[in-house]
Structures are given as structure tokens and as C-alpha cells.
């Protein structure tokens, strides 16, 4: 912030110049000079994400449906009430919660288990890690096709195993009471590699001497992990859980590809699939927009405590 301005302030001391100097100082500050770097992306992202969200809420307050444009002159919360009174919404919300809790819990435990397993000095552990993480690189559209085939009632691999063991073939997707479980199983297949990688990073950042100290004390491997290592994985668990939960809230693509197009999914309807169906099949734009707002509130309910926790920890 050159010498030019400072000489100016000392020679002239009227208030107006002082103001001008401050402006110049401001324009020369890191804040303004760095603003093109963060400002442009912030603007693009802000309009698309937050502007889009505001627009969504505006539409949800109208009665827009079909091809007619939304009429913003008569805004009310009517759609929100209608949504809450609909049984399809309540079922979808319930499925969402089941998916959220069961999927996240199993993924965390399995991921932690796999991470500990691979941290035992397994040979070729990098190759094994690559194999375990492989499903994560594939599109849900693709993995859903593979699981459709795995779940196939007549020739699917799962039923070949089941019938070989002497049981009746199972309708994995066709039976509404187990369809959600099948979906969760396939999602765990795709995501446990992710939790494993997060935990492995956590395990490998721990200093070795903790293991040594525990070994000197004569603690068994299992005890060492349960008492010393796992408690330190809290932060990795929280961040992985948040990512998984947010995914569970929007597991649309997988469900849509797996349980079919626009027909109501067989016991696997979640808010995301319900919303897309109401919007893009029936053209109930305002109604769908209000379902989306409920989904948004659920997501914020997961993210907000997480961000607050991170902020308090000073790790943002």
C-alpha cells in the first residue's frame, strides 16, 4: 500500500481527504484485491445454489402445476399442509429415516472394520484398498443395473446361492417388505469402501508409539483398538457419517434406476423419489417444491450441528 497515500494524508488533513484516503486504503486491501478470486465463484455458486433454493421456496408458496407459469400474487403455505397430510409423504419420510440410520450405521462399522483389517500389515494392502473402493468410482446408474441382475428372481446370483442352500427363491426387489433392506445392502456395498478410506486416513495419522505403549502394557490387539484407537476416530466418524447421511437423503439415482421409472417404488419410496415423481411425472410443481423444502430442512438438520461442531473445534 504505497508511500503515495501516506504523504497525502500528512500534508492535507481535511475530513474529505481523510475519507478519500480510507477509500483508497480499502481498495488496496487484501479483501478487495482478492475478491475477484473468491467473488466470482461465490457469485456463480450463490446464484445457482442459494438463488435456486429461494426460487424453489417461492414456487412452493404458489399453486403452480402443469404448464401454466407460477402465479406469485397469491402466496400461502397451503402446499406444505397438503404434503404433510399425504400418506405417501409420511411413508417416504419414514423410509428416509430408516435408510439414514441403518445405512449410515452399518457403513461406519463395516468401514472401520475394513480399515483396521487393512492396517494390520496386510500384504498388497494398497491393491486391496483399491478393490474395496472400486464401487465408489462407478455411477449409481451403473451399479443399479448390476444389482438388478444380482437381485433377479430367476437367475440372479443371490437367488442361485439361496436355492443352492435349499431355500425358496426370494423376491429381493419385488417384495415390498424386504425391498428397502435389499437397497440398503447394495448401497452398503457401494459406500463402505468410502468409510474405510476415511478411517484408514485417520488410523495412519495416529503416531505409532500409541500401539507400542499399549503393547508394552501387554494389551491385546482388540483391547488396544477398542480402548485407545477407536475413541480417537471420533472426528473421522462424524465427518463420514455426515457425508453418508446426506447421501442417504438424496439416494434418488440409485433407487430410481433400481426400482423403476415413474411408478411408485415398491416400499422403497423416499422423499427424493417422491419429489421427482410429483414434479416431472404429474407436473405438480408447487407441491413438489414444498416436498423439496422439507427435504432441505432434513438435510440442514444433519449439516448444521456438524458445521457448528466443526466450528467449535476450530477445524473449519
Amino acid at each position: 500500500m504505497g508511500t503515495h497515500e501516506t504523504t497525502e494524508t500528512t500534508t492535507q488533513s481535511s475530513e474529505e481527504v481523510d475519507w478519500e484516503t480510507r477509500l483508497r486504503y480499502f481498495l488496496n486491501s487484501d479483501f478487495v484485491r482478492s475478491s475477484p478470486f473468491w467473488g466470482i465463484p461465490l457469485f456463480i455458486m450463490g446464484v445457482a445454489v442459494y438463488g435456486g433454493m429461494g426460487f424453489n421456496i417461492a414456487i412452493s408458496l404458489t399453486d403452480a402445476r402443469g404448464l401454466t407459469p407460477p402465479d406469485y400474487s397469491n402466496l400461502d403455505l397451503e402446499m406444505y399442509g397438503q404434503v404433510l397430510g399425504n400418506e405417501a409423504f409420511l411413508t417416504a419420510a419414514q423410509n428416509n429415516l430408516v435408510l439414514l440410520v441403518v445405512f449410515t450405521t452399518i457403513c461406519l462399522f463395516l468401514g472401520l472394520f475394513l480399515a483396521i483389517l487393512l492396517d494390520q500389515g496386510i500384504r498388497y494392502n494398497n491393491t486391496v484398498q483399491t478393490i474395496y473402493l472400486l464401487p465408489m468410482s462407478l455411477s449409481f446408474v451403473i451399479t443399479a443395473q448390476m444389482w438388478l441382475w444380482m437381485f433377479n428372481t430367476n437367475n440372479g446370483l443371490l437367488n442361485i446361492i439361496v436355492t443352492t442352500l435349499g431355500f425358496e427363491p426370494v423376491q429381493w426387489i419385488g417384495n415390498p417388505s424386504i425391498a428397502l433392506g435389499s437397497v440398503i445392502f447394495a448401497l452398503i456395498w457401494q459406500f463402505s469402501g468410502y468409510t474405510m478410506v476415511v478411517y484408514l486416513a485417520g488410523l495412519r495419522s495416529l503416531p505409532d508409539d500409541q500401539f507400542e505403549a499399549a503393547r508394552v502394557d501387554g494389551a491385546s490387539t482388540i483391547k488396544t483398538y477398542l480402548r485407545i484407537i477407536v475413541p480417537q476416530m471420533k472426528e473421522a466418524s462424524v465427518s463420514a457419517a455426515v457425508v453418508l447421511m446426506v447421501f442417504a437423503l438424496k439416494a434418488f439415482t440409485f433407487l430410481y434406476s433400481l426400482t423403476g421409472r415413474y411408478r411408485p417404488p415398491n416400499g422403497t419410496d423416499i422423499l427424493a423419489t417422491l419429489m421427482v415423481r410429483e414434479a416431472f411425472k404429474f407436473g405438480k410443481w408447487a407441491y413438489a417444491a414444498s416436498i423439496a423444502t422439507y427435504l432441505l430442512i432434513l438435510a440442514l438438520g444433519v449439516i448444521a450441528p456438524y458445521l457448528y461442531y466443526q466450528y467449535r473445534q476450530g477445524s473449519l
Binding site: G46, N56, R123, N126, V197, M275, A299
Partner: protein
Amino acid sequence: MSQSTPDSTFDVASLVEDVSLKRIGQYVLVIVFIGFFLSPLQTGLMTAFKTNEAVARSIPLAPPSATGFTLGNLEFALEQLSGAFFNSLFMAIPATIGSVLFGSMAAYGLTMVRWRGQMAVLILFLVGIFLPYQAVLVPLARFWNNIFPLASMLAPTFGSLPVVQSYHANLVPLMITHIAYGIPICTILFRSYYQSLPSSLVEAAKIDGASISKIYRRVILPISKPMFGVVFIYQFTQIYNEFLFAFTLITGSDTPEAVVTLILPAVGASTSGVDFGIRMSASFLAAIPTLLIYVAFAEQFAKGLQTEGGA
């Protein structure tokens, strides 16, 4: 790496030590899980090369017999997907470059300067990663169809260009949408990398009198080459694999501009059910770009995920 030995070291002493019941148990578990993670892929791959009759008769995991082997599925699937491949790459490559570049810029602007309210801006980016896309689908469809019909504005220009057709203009709104929604995650990935750089690096350049944009071009860009690789790989995979925005912004799987993820669920479907031979061929073809990247850069891919989880 608490107790692990590197993959390469191999000596007899450690091998002898390794032969214990516990060790054997560990390796059995490792192999069981390899089976768990690979069996849907193996099943799919084998089915891709089987005739209809072999699909119905054989065990999905087993390779096709001499009479059950066919390349017909693959040929058919390739024919169905070739246009979509071009569309996906045409959309995903610029979208990836755009979001990665903006992400790097934003991260630079948010790590090297200190000002009041910075945390608020950062939180806007962070929250942006986690928000469900459903919350913007209705506005997005309205915006690109009614308020700002960019696709139909660009169509005549695209029609007169070489290589692309006028219908490829319909991919531009999708491309821009991916750039906008990719910015938050790219920013956070770059931010954690920039935070790990020694502050003396930027300080030294500042003392030398370099401007903020000069520091970015001369110091930060060259040093963040490896991170560009990580974010590019991660982001390309995400955009190429994405379905929901494509589904919202492109009218249907039977349109010429449809991307791979949009077409795939329709390939091999008929009134009598799904032809899994064709479907599995198409699935593997669709997976090739991301599989190649993954096999070549698995470590960078994992790194992207780790940083996201630690965000």
C-alpha cells in the same frame, strides 16, 4: 501405517513370523471381502459376453462356455451408446475444467487473505456441498426452459459449427449447472491443500512485491499441480456419473443429446423384460472412462474422498 509393512519388502523371516492362526484368519477375511466387492462386477462382466440362452442357464459368476460366448451384446450396446459417449465427454470435460478452476481460485482467495466475515463466506461454500439437489430441481427446469432458454438460443450457432450438431446446444445448460454446483466441493478440496502449504511461501512473494494475482499465477498454480490432478479426477468422475441434473435438463433418453447415464437404464429393456446380456455390456461400456481413470489414479481418487470426508 501403524504396523503395516510396505508392499514391496519381502523377506523369509517376516513370512515365517506371518504364519499364525491370526494371520491366516486376517487373510481369509481380506479375501472374503474381495469376493463381496467384486462379485457384482464379475457377474456383470461375465454376463456381458453370454448369449441369451447361456444367461438363462449358467451361473452368473462363471465365464461363458464355448457355445454360450458372444460379442453380439457388446456390439449392440456400443451402437446404442456411441453417440451418448460423445455427449457425456462433450459436457463433462469443460464442466470439470470450469469447476476445478473456479474452485482453485475461490480457495486461494479464501485462504491467503484474512478479513472479517470470511468464515461466513466459507460456510456458504461448505453448506453448498451438502444441500440436496432436489431443492433446486423445479427452479432449474423453469430457469433453463422458460426464463433463460440458452439451449434454443445457441442451437443455430451449434448447427453451423463443425463436429457438433444443433442438438448439442442442449448440453450447455447442463454443463453450466455442473460448473456452478461443482464449485463448492472443488473449493473445499483445494482449500485444505492450500492450508497445508507453508505460509512462508506466500509471505516471501509478498515481500518481493508480487501482486495477489501474480502470486496465484507464479507461486500457487505451479505448486498445486498435483492437487489439480486429484480434484480433476474426482470431479470428472462425479460429473460423468451424474444422473439427476441430466434427467431434469435433458428431455429424454431417446433424444440425440442424451448422456450415457440417461441412456443406460433403457438399453436392453423390452416388453418381455430386461436383456441382461445387453444391459451388462452397456453398463461396462458406460463405466470404461471412470474405470480407466480409477485404475490409473486410484490413490488420487481416494485422496479426493478423504479430503471431502475431512471437510
